[in-house]
């Protein structure tokens, strides 16, 4: 579990960019969406999400805008910027390379081939 938390810590920004890249979202929805899509695996101290969001915004990878919901409440939606899209593409490529390499190492079938 501790290992999983460490992995999550290193991938938070990648996950945030991926979710926002699919659809603009506000903080609370992002957390719920991450929990739902990971089947509850990615459950973390919710407050850590906001410094991460603001860091990404400061790096101009995402942009936050206050928007009014149909019920009159306001929420701060985050949008992926062009720079963010490029960073996301890079991170995705990195992740694919990394996970493919890890699979090659840990899959028993690959051991047999060697």
């Amino acid at each position: 579990m501790r290992y999983g938390r460490e992995l999550l810590k290193g991938s938070t920004e990648h996950l945030i960019l991926s979710l926002i890249g699919q659809e603009p979202m506000y903080g609370y929805r992002l957390i719920k969406e991450m929990e739902k899509r990971s089947g509850g695996y990615f459950r973390f101290k919710q407050g850590t999400l906001y410094p991460a969001l603001h860091r990404l915004e400061k790096d101009k990878l995402i942009q936050g805008k206050w928007e009014r919901l149909p019920n009159g409440q306001e929420r701060r939606y985050y949008y992926l910027t062009e720079l963010g899209q490029r960073a996301l593409d890079e991170k995705r490529a990195e992740w694919e390379g990394f996970s493919a390499a890890v699979n090659l190492v840990i899959e028993p079938a690959n051991l047999a081939e060697v």
């Binding site: 903080g27 101290k45 407050g47 410094p51 860091r55 701060r76």
Partner: protein
Amino acid sequence: MLPELRRYLINISLNSRLDPREDGDVVRELQTHFEDEIEELCEAGFSDREAVDMATRRFGSARDIGRELYEVYSGGTWLQALLAGVPHLLIALTFALHLWRTSYWLIFVSLVIGGVTLYAWRRGRPGWFYSWLGYFSMVSLAVAFLVIFVAERVLPPLVLGNNALWVVIVVYVGVALCLMGYIVIRVVRRDWLFASLMLLPFPVLFVWFVALERDMGLMDYPRHGFQGGDLEVAFTFLALGGVSAAFIRLKQRHLKVGILSIGTLFILAMIWRFTENGFHPVICFLLALFLTILVMSPAVLQCRVRRWREEVEASDRALPEKVWERQ
């Protein structure tokens, strides 16, 4: 909003030490998060109080989140670092080019310092603003002395009376000190480190005054200038500019404290090296100690201000919602 939640958000706000505009935006965003979370928990059957308790536990330590937010916003850009160094560079230039005897230049520098300070004050008081604020309070001091000087000549004894100048000076110094104290307390409410950044030129000027008074007498300085030229004075202000710029660029709080304290000692050592005979080691140690305490004193002041605010908060639960929002 329940008081527990309000206190929790205040705690995040106090630890993040953001400028009022950023702070308002961040707190509002976190508030909307809790609205959603608490609503969901209440729908699941929890009471308001239980929902707040659970939501804040899920959110994490207010202090840690505040500190993380602080690190996100505390590191300024190169432009902001440059802006923090500019007032010191202006003073350094004034001495390096021997312009401190030129009244037009002094008026120009005063106007620039006043203008930029007021502009930055209206634009949400960013971090670099505080190195301008220090000089701004000095300029207002100098202007007031000029007014007293002129008044003494234009409005002779008829209006001011005998020894009236001294009365005016004493009253003015009292008012100036109160004003300075008020500004420092206002700055400390946000972050004592900014108050230290603002006070940074004071020890440098103080040590220069002590050194000049000892070597030649302050009154003779305008006539003869400092032995070996004004360049040494300029170097110390250049170093101050470097310290201020580094302070703005750094993200971690302990590094900011480090650069302020080491920077102050380094500049004092520079002055000691530049003065003709140096100071006696004991005097030097005492001066360094006193001035480091002066630069770090806002930290103590902040503890007292916060404790006082907590007491007020505890004794007056009926405060309107917006009161806790800073400035």
